[in-house]
């Protein structure tokens, strides 16, 4: 039987693009090789996907083959002594946390949602609030399985002389299917976090706080209000934290309180509602400023408390925009970006600012670089939204920065190629049997 089923409307997390795919959902690793060959024989170029949290088109492969890896989500081995866990690529961070936290272990790097697969995390070389300490997840991958379109599975380690390991870390699934991975975990003494929230009034204060916090805090991040201009430009709340030395080791139960049942009307996210939200958030942040002890979920995964939160942006979806600009020009560039956003009146509901440390990223296409990253999301209003992002592109490019492919659904090929000088080197490792909408778009010369 043909393992690929037609599926007419696969959307990514941002929801802007919707396209038909031929989808296969294997249940066993032993089926993968045959599956890849079958897809190739039917003329599909392939792409593996996981929980589909990529916002734009890096996880889409319209009219081609998609291998849904979420059925390959088994734990393979866990050795608490060496702190290594080996799992199938479709295993989620959520499932891993349910197993490891009670053993006094934690993921060395985690993004802002735990509903990502290990394969997806590696393919996007994700980072977290502790980038200044631990770098990206790719630095913690000890081995991985990679299935190429010829049906052969390779066992790769960081010292792989062919360079394929470095291409696969952050390689957006284009070097083949990541089938399993072994990750080194970090020890924790409790499942609690000691957290401090510090409201700040303008951008300069953010940079001072960030510089002062990096030595004493494992995790730093801040939220900023990007609708307020003038005096209040760049006001926000700086959050820093450490794993607590004492306290319960039992993991949090799921924190998903409610799930958006349907798309909200597109108008729900407007400058007034976002402005009101931001005012409330600032007020709440001031109220809660100071130190507190919280669980892991509220600290690492606040947004996971609303299932399918992307539906708040309605049928037209939203764009994410995440940039990094080099440390030397980070103050000016970030200031200019916030000014452009505030002037446009197109607020971002979730605006996150963080300084990256200088821990080198292992992948050829890894996003993080020393400097400051700004993550924004914009309701899709068509041209005006694209124009604003175009203005931001100009600032980022001028600063010598780049954008995060996992968040992108529209950057120009020139913008991508300027930001990722190693892209042509990377292209040599792309398996000709694989493709994505993103790659077709940005690899054009």
């Amino acid at each position: 039987m043909n393992p690929f089923s037609p599926s007419d409307s696969i959307r990514s997390w941002g929801g802007v693009l919707k396209a038909p795919h031929h989808v296969a959902r294997p249940g066993w690793r032993s089926e993968l090789s045959r599956l890849v060959l079958s897809g190739r024989q039917q003329g599909y170029r392939l792409l593996a996907c996981g929980l589909r949290r990529s916002y734009g088109d890096s996880g889409l492969n319209p009219h081609e083959g998609l291998i849904d890896m979420t059925g390959l989500d088994r734990m393979i081995t866990l050795d608490p002594a060496t702190r290594r866990i080996r799992v199938e690529a479709g295993a989620s961070f959520d499932a891993i946390l349910q197993v490891i936290v009670r053993q006094g272990l934690f993921l060395p790097v985690t993004p802002g949602t735990r509903f990502v697969t290990v394969g997806g995390a590696i393919a996007n070389d994700v980072h977290g609030k502790n980038h200044h300490r631990h770098g990206t997840i790719g630095r913690w991958v000890r081995r991985l399985g990679l299935l190429r379109s010829d049906g052969l599975e390779l066992d790769l380690a960081p010292d792989d002389p062919s360079g394929l390991f470095q291409a696969t870390i952050g390689g957006l699934g284009l070097t083949g299917v990541i089938t399993w991975a072994e990750i080194e975990l970090m020890p924790i003494a409790s499942a609690m976090m000691d957290v401090e929230n510090i409201p700040f009034g303008k951008l300069d204060e953010f940079f001072t706080l960030a510089a002062d916090s990096e030595d004493a805090f494992d995790y730093t991040v801040s939220w900023i209000d990007c609708l307020s201009g003038g005096e209040r430009l760049g006001r926000g709340i700086f959050t820093r934290g450490n794993h607590a030395g004492t306290g319960s080791i039992l993991p949090d139960r799921g924190n998903t309180l409610l799930t958006m049942p349907v798309n909200l009307p597109g108008l729900a996210m407007n400058r007034y509602s976002i402005s009101a939200f931001n005012a409330l958030y600032v007020w709440n942040g001031r109220r809660k400023s100071g130190t507190a002890r919280t669980g892991l979920h509220p600290f690492f995964y606040p947004l996971d408390s609303i299932g399918r939160w992307n539906r708040m942006y309605g049928r037209n979806g939203m764009y994410q925009y995440q940039s990094v600009v080099p440390a030397a020009v980070q103050k000016e560039a970030t200031h200019d970006m916030l000014k452009a956003i505030s002037a446009s009146g197109q607020g971002s509901f979730l605006a996150v600012l963080k300084t990256f440390g200088d821990v080198a990223s292992p992948g050829l296409l890894s996003f993080p670089a020393p400097g400051t990253t700004l993550a924004l999301d914009f309701p899709n209003r068509g041209d005006v939204t694209l124009k604003l992002m175009g203005r931001l592109d100009a600032i980022v490019r001028e600063a010598g920065g780049r954008l995060y492919p996992a968040k992108d659904g529209r950057m120009s090929a020139a913008m991508f190629q300027a930001g990722y000088p190693a892209w042509q080197e990377f292209a040599k490792y792309v398996d000709a049997g694989f493709s994505s909408h993103f790659w077709k778009r940005v690899s054009q010369i």
Partner: protein, 245 residues
């Protein structure tokens, strides 16, 4: 808690076993592919199962189900819950012409399942407690041209489980039939899975697990299928027979 899973490499069974594993259960996985049983066992052990054993057995061809089932039970020191989750969809078009294929569908989904269900029921009745959960299908609620041979086997299973539940009524153990709607499992590979009616094995597993402990003898999974099938069962033939479903 000690669980025996008959057909342990099915996606619904494996997803259900994970819920037991998270509660520290002892689990025996029965199936006919040793490699897959072992992969499943390793996963469940890491997810918190107290102990996981595997038993290789072609469930579609029981030799002496009563004795074999007693052996299963002895392997993990007795049994509290039994989940019967194997089955095949078969190829309806082929089975209508090729009667051996039709008999295969019945033999796997009904005859052999009956042997195992009765063997389990006898043991649970003797010990006066425990729970037997069998995976049926909404296809058993009304025969339709797309899959009525499979549906007939599942309808038979429904009557069997009703009877066992009736027999258990004043004796302690529980007997439950779960009727999943279309689920994203290897059984439905190749079908167009777009649309809101498709469920994941994890969604079905939640219901299987919950119903092993409490509730009536029949459960649809997800629950909305109860309403849909109520309508479909009650459609007059002159309407139903004109529908392309």
């Amino acid at each position: 808690m000690r669980l025996i899973v008959l057909g342990a490499t099915s996606s619904i069974a494996a997803a259900t076993a994970r819920l037991y594993a998270a509660d520290g259960a002892t689990i025996l996985l029965v199936g006919r592919d040793q490699d897959r049983l072992e992969q499943t066992a390793a996963d469940l052990a890491i997810r918190g199962a107290e102990r996981v054993e595997t038993a290789l057995c072609d469930l579609a061809a029981p030799q002496d189900a009563q004795r074999q089932f007693s052996d299963f039970s002895a392997r993990i020191g007795g049994v509290d819950h039994v989940l019967l989750a194997y089955g095949i969809l078969g190829d309806q078009a082929d089975a209508e012409r090729n009667l051996a294929a039709a008999e295969d569908i019945l033999r796997v989904n009904f005859n052999s399942a009956t042997a195992w269900a009765l063997a389990a029921a006898n043991l649970l009745e003797r010990q006066g407690r425990g729970s037997l959960v069998v995976i049926g299908s909404v296809a058993g609620d009304r025969g339709r041209r797309a899959n009525f041979i499979y549906g007939a086997a599942k309808a038979g299973l429904a009557a069997l489980m009703e009877g066992i539940a009736h027999r258990f009524a004043d004796k302690g153990p529980r007997a439950v039939l779960i009727k999943p709607g279309p689920t994203v499992t290897p059984m439905t590979e190749g079908m167009n899975r777009s649309g809101a009616l498709w469920a994941s094995p994890e969604q079905v597993a939640q219901i299987v697990y919950r119903r092993a402990f409490r509730g009536g003898p029949v459960a649809y999974a997800p629950g909305f299928w109860r309403i849909i099938m109520l309508v479909i069962r009650n459609l007059p033939s002159f309407i139903f027979n004109r529908m392309e479903i």
